[in-house]
C-alpha cells in the first residue's frame, strides 16, 4: 500500500513504463508497415505523463521508497517534475519528427518508440534521484536506450560506427562516474544527497579523496553533456544517428545530465569547501566548451555536424549557470532549467527541419550547407521556422534562446563570474557566423537549376512538431514570465527537500 502511494507520486514514470511495455507487446503482432500507430500511442503516453508532471508541480516534495532508517532514492518534488516536463516535451517533439524520417530511411522498427520512452524514464529518474546510485541507474537506463537507437539503422555504416563509438565512450564515462561515486562514498560514508550535504558542513577528513571523487563524477557527466575535452564522440555520433534521435539525444540526454547536476550541486555540495575546490575545474571545462565548440562549428560543412558542435557549445553556456550555482547564486538553478527548455525547442526544431530536407538516398551529401540552397523559397514556412531556430540558437531576441542566455549571464554576473560571461559573449558572437550560414544557404545563395528537389512529403506529425518547436521558442522569448516563475518555484522545492 505504501508503495502504491509512492507510485502515484511518480505517475509520469509509471505511465511511460506502461506505454512502453504495451508498445513492445503489441509489436509482436507487427501491425502496419510504417507503425504510425506506435508513434501515436507513444504521443498519447508522453502527453499523459506530461500532464501528470505538470500536476505534480503543485504537490509537496515527497521522499519515496526509503527503507527504514535509510534516505530516499527518489525525491518527487517540483524541480524533478518540471525537469520531467521539459524532457517529456522534448521526447514528444522528437517522436513527432520520427515517422517522416522512418519512412525516408526505411529503418522501421517496432522497438524504436518504446526505446525512446524507456530512455525518458531513465531521464526522469535522474532528475528525481535522491542519491548518487539512483542517479547512476537512471543514467544507465537512459543511455542504453539511446545506444540502441543510435544504431537502429543496422545496415548503415555511419550509424553502426556511431553506435559503437557511443557505446564505448559511454562505457568509459560510466566507469569514471562510478569511480567518482565510490570515492565520494569512501570519503563521506554516504551517497545520499541530503546526507552528503550534512557531512560536508563539518570538515571532512580525507578531503583529497572527496575532491578526486567529485572531479571523476564531473568527468562522467561532462562526457554525457559532450563538454570539451570530453566531446570527441559527439560529432560522429550525432552525424550517424537517425536525425530525430540526434535531436532527442542532443536535448534529452543533455537536459537530464544538467538537471541531475543542478540537483547534486544544489543539494549535495552546496556551501562546502570541497565543492569550492572543483569550481575552477568546472570553469575551465566551461571556457573550453564554449570556445572550442564554437570554433569547431565554424569549419563544419555538414549541417548536422555543425549542429553537433553547436550543441557542444550550448552545454558550455549551461555550464556557466552550474558554476554560478556552485558559487551559491540561487537564481542560477532556475536559469539552467530555463536555458535547457529553450534549448530543447530550438535544437529539436533545427533537427526537425533537417528531417524535412534530407533526401531519401542522399546520405551525408544531403546534409551539406550547399544542399539547402534556395530552400527558403521552395518551402517558405520551413524557411521561416529554420530562421527562427537559427536566430534563437544565436541568442537573438525575441526568442527563448535570447532570454535563456540573458538569464544565465545575469546569474553569472551576480555570482561574480565575469570571465565566463565574456567567454559566453565571445562564443555567441562566433556562433552568429555559422548560424547565419544556414540562413545564407536558405535564402541568399543562387538556386542551382539542376538537381532533384528534396522530398517534400507533408507529414502531419513533422509539421506539428515544427509548429510546437517554433511556438515554444517564441513563447519563451516573448512571454517568459510564467516559465521563470515555475522554475523559481521548482528550485525552491529543491532546497526545501
Amino acid at each position: 500500500m505504501q508503495y502504491l502511494n509512492a507510485l502515484t507520486a511518480i505517475l509520469p514514470v509509471v505511465v511511460l513504463l506502461g506505454t512502453a511495455v504495451i508498445l513492445l507487446m503489441l509489436e509482436v503482432f507487427s501491425l502496419g508497415k510504417d507503425r504510425i500507430w506506435a508513434a501515436n500511442f507513444s504521443l498519447v503516453g508522453l502527453a499523459v505523463a506530461f500532464y501528470f508532471a505538470m500536476k505534480g508541480l503543485g504537490a509537496e516534495p515527497q521522499a519515496l521508497f526509503a527503507g527504514p532508517g535509510k534516505s530516499a532514492p527518489i525525491i518527487a518534488d517540483a524541480f524533478g517534475n518540471l525537469a520531467a516536463a521539459v524532457m517529456l516535451a522534448g521526447a514528444f517533439v522528437a517522436v513527432l519528427l520520427s515517422p517522416e524520417y522512418i519512412k525516408n530511411a526505411r529503418c522501421s522498427s517496432g522497438e524504436y518508440y518504446a526505446l525512446i520512452l524507456f530512455s525518458v524514464v531513465g531521464m526522469i529518474v535522474m532528475a528525481m534521484a535522491g542519491d548518487l546510485i539512483t542517479f547512476f541507474l537512471g543514467l544507465e537506463v537512459m543511455s542504453i536506450g539511446v545506444y540502441v537507437l543510435t544504431g537502429i539503422r543496422r545496415n548503415d555504416l555511419r550509424a553502426s560506427e556511431a553506435a559503437l563509438k557511443y557505446l564505448l565512450m559511454g562505457a568509459f564515462a560510466t566507469g569514471f562516474l562510478l569511480m567518482g561515486i565510490a570515492f565520494i562514498y569512501g570519503a563521506t560514508g554516504t551517497v545520499a544527497l541530503p546526507e552528503l550535504a550534512r557531512q560536508m558542513v563539518a570538515p571532512v577528513g580525507g578531503a583529497p579523496i572527496l575532491v578526486t571523487g567529485l572531479v571523476l563524477l564531473l568527468v562522467g557527466v561532462a562526457f554525457k553533456v559532450a563538454a570539451v575535452p570530453f566531446h570527441l564522440w559527439a560529432p560522429d555520433v550525432y552525424e550517424g544517428a537517425p536525425t530525430p534521435i540526434t535531436g532527442f539525444m542532443a536535448v534529452g540526454v543533455k537536459a537530464a545530465a544538467f538537471v541531475a547536476l543542478v540537483r547534486i550541486v544544489a543539494v549535495g555540495f552546496a556551501n562546502s569547501e570541497e565543492s569550492a575546490v572543483v569550481i575552477p575545474f568546472i570553469s575551465v571545462i566551461a571556457y573550453l566548451t564554449i570556445i572550442v565548440g564554437n570554433l569547431l562549428a565554424i569549419v563544419q560543412r555538414n549541417v548536422k555536424r555543425m549542429l553537433a558542435y553547436s550543441s557542444v557549445s550550448h552545454a558550455g553556456y549551461a555550464l556557466i549557470g552550474v558554476v554560478a550555482l556552485a558559487r551559491g547564486e540561487e537564481s542560477a538553478g532556475a536559469a539552467v532549467l530555463f536555458y535547457l527548455t529553450a534549448y530543447t525547442f530550438m535544437t529539436l526544431g533545427a533537427f526537425g527541419v533537417l528531417v524535412f530536407l534530407e533526401r531519401k538516398e542522399g546520405g551525408a551529401e544531403s546534409e551539406r550547407f550547399g544542399a539547402f540552397a534556395g530552400m527558403g523559397y521552395r518551402h517558405p514556412a520551413l524557411g521561416v521556422a529554420m530562421s527562427v531556430f537559427m536566430v534563437a540558437l544565436a541568442g537573438m531576441p525575441p526568442t527563448g534562446g535570447f532570454f535563456g542566455k540573458l538569464y544565465i549571464f545575469s546569474s553569472a554576473i551576480n555570482a561574480g563570474e565575469m570571465g565566463l560571461v565574456f567567454a559566453g559573449i565571445l562564443g555567441s558572437i562566433i556562433s552568429v557566423y555559422y548560424y547565419l550560414r544556414v540562413i545564407v544557404s536558405f535564402y541568399m545563395v543562387d538556386v542551382p537549376d539542376a538537381g532533384p528537389l528534396p522530398t517534400a512529403t507533408r507529414s502531419r506529425h513533422l509539421t506539428a512538431g515544427l509548429i510546437i518547436a517554433t511556438a515554444g521558442v517564441l513563447t519563451l522569448g516573448i512571454f517568459p514570465n510564467q516559465w521563470i516563475e515555475l522554475g523559481k518555484l521548482a528550485f525552491k522545492s529543491l532546497q526545501l527537500g
Binding site: 531576441p397 525575441p398 545575469s410 559573449i425 557566423y433 541568399m444 523559481k488
Partner: protein
C-alpha cells in the same frame, strides 16, 4: 493617443503578417499594399503630431504595463523631443523608399516588402522603448530584416556585407547587454526601466566601463571612426531601398542611443571622455570626407559622406550643450532626408546604366535636366548650403562645440604640442569637414552632370519618370523646409534636449571634485575618478540655457558664470 503610438509601431508588422498570409499576389499589388500600409502609418504619425505638445520636455503618449514581472521588465513606451521627429522621419522615409524601389526589386517581392515592413516596426519600437530590455529587443530584432535586405537583394558581395554588418552590430550589442544587466541589477532585484537607470549613480570606474560598453554598441551603429568599416560594404552592397533606410534611420539609432541612454545614465564618464569622443568624431568627419573624395564609386562616396555627416552628430552630442545636442538631433533629420535623396538618385542612375562608377558618366546635365536639378539640389542640401536642410544642424553643432559651456572646452596637453584648447581645435577641424563636404559632393556633381558626354551609352539615358519625381519632390520640399524653417522642429526638440543637458550636468556635478588648481588635463585621462575635467566647475543658469528657435546666439557668454577663483 498612447494607443495610437503603439498602433504606429505595430501597424507595419501587422501589414507584413497580412502580406505573408495572403495568397500569391502580383508584384505591383504587393508593392502597392505595402506602400498603402506605410503611408497610412505616416498619416497616423501626422495625427500624432497634431496631438503632440512640443513645449513639453518630458515623455508623452506613454504606455506602461507589466511584461516580465520576475525580471522587473515592463512594456514601457513613450516619446519626447529626442525621439518624436525621428519617428516622423521613419514613417515618412519608408513609403518614399518603397515607392523609389518600385522597379528596383523584381525578385522575391513579397519577401522584400515583408522585410521592409518588419524593419520599420523594429526601428519605431527602438525609438519608443523606455525600458532597457524592450529597447534591446527592438534594437536586435531590427538587425534581422536588415540582414535579409542586404543579403538577399544586394549586389555581388552581398553575403559578405550582410554577415559583416550583422556580426559587427551584434558584437557591440552583446557588450551593451552585459552593461544593461549591470544597470538593471538594482539592490531590490531587477528594474530595467529607463527612469530607474537614469536615476542611478555609479562609481566612476564602473561608470567608465558601462559607458564604454554602451558607447561601443552605439558607436558601431552610428558608425563612428574607427568602427565604421562595415558601413561602406553594407551600403555598397545593399539595394537602394536598404541603403536609404540604413542611412536614413538605422544610423540615427546610434545617435539616439547616445542621447537617450548613454549620456543621461553615465554623465560623469560622458563628460570625462568628451575629448576622446569629440576627437574621434572629428576624425570621422575628416576621414569620411577625405575617403568620400577619392571614391570612384558613387554609392561608396555617399556612404563615406554618411560617416562624415554622422561625425557631426557625434561631435554635437559630445559637447553636451543645448546647441550641440539640438543640432545633433536636427542633423539626424536633415541627413536622413538629404542622404536618402542622394541614395535614391544614385539608384536611379544605376537602374538605367548598371554602373555606379563616376568615370562612366559625365555630361548628363543636358540629357536629363530634371535628374540634374534634383541631384544638384540634394547635393547642396547635403553639403550644408545655408537655406537648405544641412545648414542649421551643422551650424548649431559647431556653435555648441565652440561654446564655453562645453566639457570639450579644456586645455589638453598633447605631447610635442603643449596645451591646446580642445573645443576650438575641434570646431575648426569640424568646420573643415563642411568645406570638404562641398568639395566631394560638387566633385561628384561635376563628374556626373558636366563635362563632355563621352560614353555613347549615356546618350540614351532617360530622365526621371513621374514616379521618380513623385519620390524626389517631397524629399526636396523637406530639404527646403528644414533649411528655412528649422523652428518648426527645433521648438519640439529643444525642451527635451534642455532637460537632458541639465540632467547630465547636474548628475555629473553631484560628485564634482572642484579642483581650482588643476588647469591642465593630462593626456589621456586615467578615468573619471582621477579627472579634474573642467578647469573650474561651471555653473550654468538653466533658465538662460533656453535656446529660442531660429536664434543661435541665445546663449551668451554671461549666461555661464565661472565662479571667481578663490
Amino acid at each position: 493617443m498612447a494607443d495610437l503610438l503603439n498602433v504606429i509601431v505595430y501597424l507595419p508588422a501587422l501589414g507584413a503578417l497580412l502580406l505573408a498570409s495572403l495568397p500569391p499576389l502580383e508584384h505591383r499589388n504587393l508593392k502597392a499594399t505595402a506602400i498603402a500600409v506605410t503611408t497610412l502609418n505616416f498619416l497616423l504619425s501626422l495625427i500624432l503630431w497634431s496631438a503632440w505638445s512640443p513645449a513639453h520636455a518630458g515623455f508623452q503618449f506613454e504606455t506602461n504595463v507589466g511584461w516580465i514581472q520576475s525580471f522587473g521588465i515592463r512594456y514601457h513606451t513613450g516619446v519626447d523631443g529626442l525621439s518624436f521627429y525621428l519617428i516622423l522621419l521613419t514613417t515618412f522615409l519608408v513609403p518614399v523608399t518603397l515607392l523609389g524601389a518600385w522597379n528596383a526589386v523584381e525578385t522575391r517581392v513579397r519577401e522584400f516588402v515583408i522585410a521592409i515592413l518588419v524593419l520599420e516596426s523594429g526601428m519605431l519600437g527602438a525609438f519608443v522603448a523606455l525600458d532597457l530590455f524592450l529597447f534591446y529587443v527592438f534594437w536586435e530584432a531590427m538587425l534581422i530584416p536588415m540582414y535579409f535586405v542586404i543579403g538577399v537583394w544586394g549586389g555581388q558581395r552581398r553575403v559578405y556585407a550582410a554577415v559583416k554588418f550583422f556580426i559587427f552590430t551584434m558584437a557591440g550589442s552583446l557588450l551593451m547587454l552585459i552593461a544593461i544587466l549591470y544597470v538593471a541589477n538594482v539592490p531590490t532585484g531587477w528594474d530595467f526601466s529607463w527612469a530607474s537607470a537614469v536615476s542611478r549613480n555609479f562609481d566612476p570606474t564602473l561608470q567608465a566601463w558601462l559607458f564604454g560598453a554602451f558607447m561601443l554598441a552605439f558607436a558601431i551603429k552610428v558608425p563612428m571612426f574607427p568602427v565604421h568599416t562595415w558601413l561602406p560594404d553594407a551600403h555598397t552592397e545593399a539595394p537602394t531601398a536598404g541603403s536609404v533606410i540604413l542611412a536614413g534611420v538605422l544610423l540615427k539609432l546610434g545617435i539616439y542611443g547616445f542621447v537617450r541612454f548613454a549620456y543621461p545614465m553615465f554623465p560623469q564618464a560622458a563628460i570625462a571622455y568628451a575629448p576622446i569622443i569629440g576627437g574621434l568624431a572629428v576624425a570621422g568627419i575628416i576621414y569620411g570626407a577625405v575617403a568620400a573624395w577619392v571614391q570612384p564609386d558613387m554609392k561608396k562616396l555617399v556612404a563615406y559622406s554618411s560617416v562624415s555627416h554622422l561625425g557631426f552628430c557625434v561631435l554635437g552630442v559630445a559637447a553636451v550643450t543645448v546647441e550641440g545636442m539640438t543640432g545633433a538631433v536636427y542633423q539626424c533629420l536633415a541627413h536622413g532626408i538629404s542622404t536618402g535623396g542622394l541614395f535614391i538618385l544614385v539608384g536611379v542612375l544605376y537602374e538605367r546604366r548598371h554602373t555606379r562608377l563616376l568615370s562612366d558618366y559625365g555630361g548628363l546635365a543636358r540629357k536629363v535636366p530634371v535628374f540634374a536639378t534634383f541631384l544638384v539640389f540634394t547635393a547642396l542640401a547635403s553639403a550644408g548650403l545655408p537655406t537648405l536642410s544641412g545648414f542649421p544642424g551643422e551650424f548649431m553643432i559647431l556653435l555648441g562645440t565652440f561654446t564655453a559651456a562645453s566639457p570639450l572646452d579644456q586645455i589638453v596637453n598633447v605631447p610635442g604640442l603643449g596645451g591646446i584648447r580642445m573645443a576650438q581645435v575641434l570646431t575648426v577641424l569640424g568646420a573643415t569637414g563642411v568645406i570638404l563636404a562641398a568639395v566631394y559632393l560638387l566633385w561628384m556633381v561635376q563628374k556626373v552632370l558636366f563635362g563632355p558626354l563621352q560614353d555613347p551609352a549615356n546618350e540614351r539615358i532617360a530622365d526621371l519618370s513621374v514616379r521618380e519625381i513623385a519620390v524626389m519632390l517631397p524629399l526636396a520640399a523637406l530639404m527646403i523646409v528644414l533649411g528655412l524653417f528649422p523652428g518648426i522642429f527645433l521648438k519640439g526638440i529643444e525642451p527635451s534636449v534642455q532637460r537632458l543637458v541639465t540632467t547630465v550636468h547636474q548628475k555629473a556635478g553631484q560628485t564634482y571634485q572642484a579642483d581650482a588648481g588643476a588647469k591642465r588635463l593630462n593626456w589621456l585621462p586615467a578615468g573619471p575618478g582621477a579627472r579634474p575635467a573642467l578647469q573650474r566647475p561651471l555653473r550654468i543658469d538653466p533658465n538662460r540655457l533656453r535656446l529660442a528657435p531660429g536664434r543661435f546666439d541665445a546663449l551668451r557668454p554671461e549666461d555661464i558664470r565661472r565662479p571667481p577663483t578663490p
